[in-house]
């Protein structure tokens, strides 16, 4: 054997699939064409176990076999004739979908994609559709539906959802922990506020005024489509309003298109069909806007994660790649396009000092230091990072009665660090991390956009 001239040269670097550049004979291992080919991912795994040391569940529960097993090992086992007879191991439901393993893998194995596929298969083929667990998970995953109903009668819903006897019944019959308090529903949703304020037309006016103030062209091409997600619509419209004020301050006109849940809680519960239905609506409405030159921004780091990474990994919908490539976390986008550091460095703000927790899904977008770096030179507020551990709630995970203790054990490190630092107000981008922070510390929890908004308002 020698170097053969007919070997195609490959000098293109593909960082997201670093090991697939070499030629190999593809083996058809799937029964049909429509299934995702996860083989390159499985083949890239060198079993170094770095993913396992990033897994917050494996750290507190040794009966959980960890991401390496859930991803490449289980996939390989199922490709053999013997393996085909086995289903997906039920431990897949103990994975919290924090996605830390993705970022950890030095070989580019798409671990969370493999987990999502496996979990979807498990729920489809092995979980009884008549079981309490299935319906409990489905209700939790479809939070938007419950929130929509609750938003019609927010005061009643707030009282009912935290009414002790009702919660006892929910725990006993549904397996939803009674340890946690349900987040309050806003009396006016963000969308109601937005519509009453005059929608996109008002935003355009505000943006134009800001551009004139900044010495920019009145008709500058600064347009964003806001993916607010469920939580800032139904529960924390103040975050969404801060986003609007901040973006308009920098001369951006905002549109708020029709949207469903990003799918994050559905991926985590293996409800891929529910997630796909939402994705179809979201991709359809945002792809049109992207084509017109809009970028999509999200204030929830799990929503931006879903649109950027999970959508193109899991679904094949027209325009899905365009939407993924044009979606950003809201602060990240401003940091790229505006001199946000400069603006804040010259400002001061009247805000309580902050204990910041970086959500796992922010980490996976490379944003874990963003808030700390932005606010450390901002006068009037001190910020301290409470460490790199997962908060433990992972969306719907910590709401399940059988996962509650595990969720709190994972969060213990964060609680310890929150206790150790001076600030007594929390800060995070993720709605469910904020529930966990509040639950473990009793602190009020804010969003970075609220800090930026306050700093700008002071000017």
């Amino acid at each position: 054997m020698s170097d053969s001239a007919d070997t195609p040269t490959d000098d293109t670097f593909e960082p997201t699939e670093p090991n697939t550049g070499e030629d190999f004979e593809p083996v058809q291992v799937f029964p049909d064409e429509g299934t995702m080919d996860l083989r390159p991912g499985a083949d890239s795994c060198t079993k170094c176990s770095t993913c396992d040391t990033n897994c917050p569940v494996a750290e507190v529960d040794d009966s959980f076999p960890g991401p390496k097993f859930q991803g490449p090992e289980q996939w390989r086992l199922k490709q053999t004739d013997e393996g085909e007879e086995f289903g997906i191991d039920d431990s897949i439901m103990d994975c919290s979908n924090c996605m830390r393993c993705d970022d950890a893998c030095p070989s580019g194995v798409p671990l969370s994609q493999m987990h999502n596929e496996a979990r979807g298969e498990y729920v489809d083929e092995e979980m009884s559709k008549l079981s309490v667990e299935y319906w409990r998970n489905r209700i939790l995953a479809n939070y938007r539906t419950s929130a929509w109903f609750a938003s019609k009668v927010p005061r009643l819903a707030n009282a009912a959802m935290n009414f002790g006897p009702a919660r006892w019944v929910m725990e006993k019959t549904m397996g939803i922990t009674s340890e946690r308090e349900f987040p309050a529903f806003a009396t006016e949703t963000f969308r109601e506020w937005w519509a009453a304020r005059g929608g996109a037309a008002t935003s355009r006016e505000h943006a134009r005024e800001a551009r004139e103030r900044m010495g920019e062209s009145r008709d500058a091409d600064k347009r964003v489509a806001y993916f607010h997600g469920c939580y800032s619509n139904y529960n924390t419209p103040e975050v969404a309003k801060s986003l609007v004020a901040t973006y308009e301050h920098f001369g951006y006109e905002i549109v708020v298109p029709e949207q469903r849940c990003s799918g994050t809680p559905m991926f985590a519960n293996g409800m891929l069909d529910d997630a796909r239905r939402g994705a179809e609506v979201n991709v359809s409405s945002f792809a049109d806007l992207v084509e017109q030159g809009y970028d999509a921004i999200a204030s929830c780091t799990s929503c931006s994660m879903a649109l950027r990474q999970e959508y193109p990994e899991l679904f094949d919908i027209d325009g899905i790649e365009d939407v993924a490539e044009h979606t950003f976390e809201a602060v990240e986008y401003l940091r790229i396009h505006e001199d946000l550091e400069g603006e804040l460095a010259g400002s001061s703000v009247d805000f309580p000092d902050l204990a910041y927790h970086a959500p796992c899904h922010a980490r996976n977008q490379g944003l874990e230091r963003q808030a700390v770096e932005l606010f450390r030179d901002l006068d009037g507020v001190a910020i301290e990072d409470v460490g790199e551990s997962c908060s433990g709630i992972s969306g719907t995970y910590g709401w399940k009665a059988e996962k509650y203790e595990k969720s709190m054990a994972i969060g213990e490190e964060m609680f310890e660090h929150m206790d150790a630092v001076e600030p007594e107000t929390g800060l995070t981008e993720c709605p469910t991390c904020s529930m966990q922070m509040e639950h473990g510390s009793g602190y009020e929890i804010r969003h970075p956009l609220e800090v930026i908004d306050a700093a700008i308002a002071e000017e």
Binding site: T16, P18, C55, A58, D103, G366, E413
Partner: protein
């Protein structure tokens, strides 16, 4: 607009962090970007400077540098720069020993060999092989990576000047066979309750109780390196008090708690120095001819420009994909810097596993200023320097020089970058 800094460091391993730290401590605005988590997670936590030259164990690494070839990174920088780099490490990282002498320390490994190294974590200190106290190595049934009786036998065979025994016990709490190293560390960190013989006991006491039965007068006890993460000092102190013996950790293969702890210390130092850093997104390209104007970072499909006055390339070698090889050749993927290598692929390696392979020394070609050079020896970009395993001309595995070269070249690259700021 681009994300701006004075110095942009690409790569989050030991070389990248050291260069960012050196530059930030000089007062520059520094940003470090790394695609994946730091390779320190795979590191043993020992910091080697120079362990072997021509297969001979080295007593004093600084003396032995004279024996290296002229193009070796240590020779390019000179001894004083290497010392300055190590001084930066010593100053930034608390809880490491070995600073008091130029000579190498000898530390036992989890395979039962003895390794020359320049710096070692406090947790490994009591295990030093030149100490003649009798030693008990303790392994866990569920942790297959460390076979304590085998390691003890190997140490005996290697002529260690102390009596060594090894014992395998069941870790209290009956962990599963594939429990992760972080699970052991977490149990000990939190001193979590475990069930032992029908009683509920804290994990630290339960572990000490199990070891006591085998102690038999040994003066020190070595465990696999899983003795806690955040609170490792307390875990070790508790075990020492309960056992009445010195306790040390035996460094393990990847993934490694001592490596994770070292990563934490270094990034804390970087934070204190005011540097910015981010992980998760790769640098995929750049703009510029002989001068880099900006690089492009792929953020989940969106390409974002990052501009700086000076750049440091510390993306690692063949293992970390900072240097790539295909059948056609060997390349540096971001800036396409020249990587010298034989044209015939069959000259890249020798037949024996431990032979002197050419590939082990593949990397970009630099002079004393650490600027990558093209095949004609001309500087490729006037504002780019390379550090760590991206450099060619040395074989870190055979020399046991990986950490030292990363620290020394990282320090030099970061320092020179600041000197050149316009």
């Amino acid at each position: 607009m681009a994300i701006e800094s004075d110095v942009l460091v690409i790569g989050g391993g030991l070389a990248g962090v050291t260069s960012a730290l050196a530059a930030a401590r000089e007062g520059a605005s520094v940003r470090l970007v790394t695609y994946k988590q730091s390779s320190l997670r795979q590191a043993s936590g020992l910091v080697d400077l120079l362990g072997y030259v021509d297969d001979e164990a080295v007593v004093d690494p600084y003396d032995a540098m004279d024996k290296l070839h002229d193009e070796h990174p240590y020779r390019l920088l000179g001894r004083d720069t290497v010392r300055d780099g190590m001084a930066l490490f010593d100053d930034a990282v608390a809880g490491y020993y070995g600073e008091h002498t130029d000579a190498n320390a000898l530390l036992p490994t989890h395979g039962g060999t003895v390794k020359p190294t320049a710096r070692y974590p406090a947790g490994a200190a009591a295990g030093i092989a030149t100490d003649d106290r009798s030693t008990l190595l303790v392994g866990f049934e569920t942790l297959a990576d460390f076979d304590a009786p085998l390691a003890a036998t190997h140490l005996d065979a290697a002529g260690a000047p102390f009596a060594t025994d090894g014992v395998t016990i069941s870790f209290p709490g009956d962990l599963r066979a594939d429990a992760k190293v972080t699970r052991y560390a977490k149990l000990l960190d939190q001193d979590s309750d475990v069930a032992v013989g029908g009683r509920i006991v804290g994990a630290r006491t339960a572990l000490a109780d199990r070891v006591k039965a085998h102690l038999d007068g040994h003066e020190r006890v070595g465990f696999p390196a899983v003795l806690g993460d955040d609170h490792t000092e307390t875990v070790r102190a508790t075990l020492e008090a309960e056992l009445g013996a010195a306790v040390f950790e035996v460094p393990m293969g990847p993934p490694s708690l001592p490596g994770l702890r070292l990563e934490d210390r270094l990034f804390e130092a970087l934070d204190e120095a005011g540097a910015n850093f981010e992980a998760g997104n790769p640098v995929v390209g750049f703009e510029g001819e002989d001068h880099i104007d900006h690089v492009l970072v792929d953020r989940k499909g969106a390409t974002v420009p990052y501009s700086a006055d000076q750049y440091v390339l510390a993306t690692g070698g063949l293992v970390s994909k900072g240097v790539e090889s295909t059948r056609a050749g060997v390349t540096e993927p971001i800036f396409d810097c020249h990587v010298p290598h034989p044209a015939d692929r069959y000259d890249w390696f020798e037949d024996g596993v431990f032979d002197d392979h050419a590939f082990a020394r593949f990397g970009v070609d630099v002079g004393p200023d650490l600027r990558p050079r093209d095949p004609q020896g001309e500087v490729e970009f006037d504002n780019l320097r390379a550090a760590g395993a991206t450099l060619g001309g040395y074989d870190f595995a055979a020399e046991k020089s990986g950490s030292g070269v990363s620290i020394a070249t990282g320090y030099a690259a970061g320092t020179h970058a600041v000197e050149d700021l316009t």
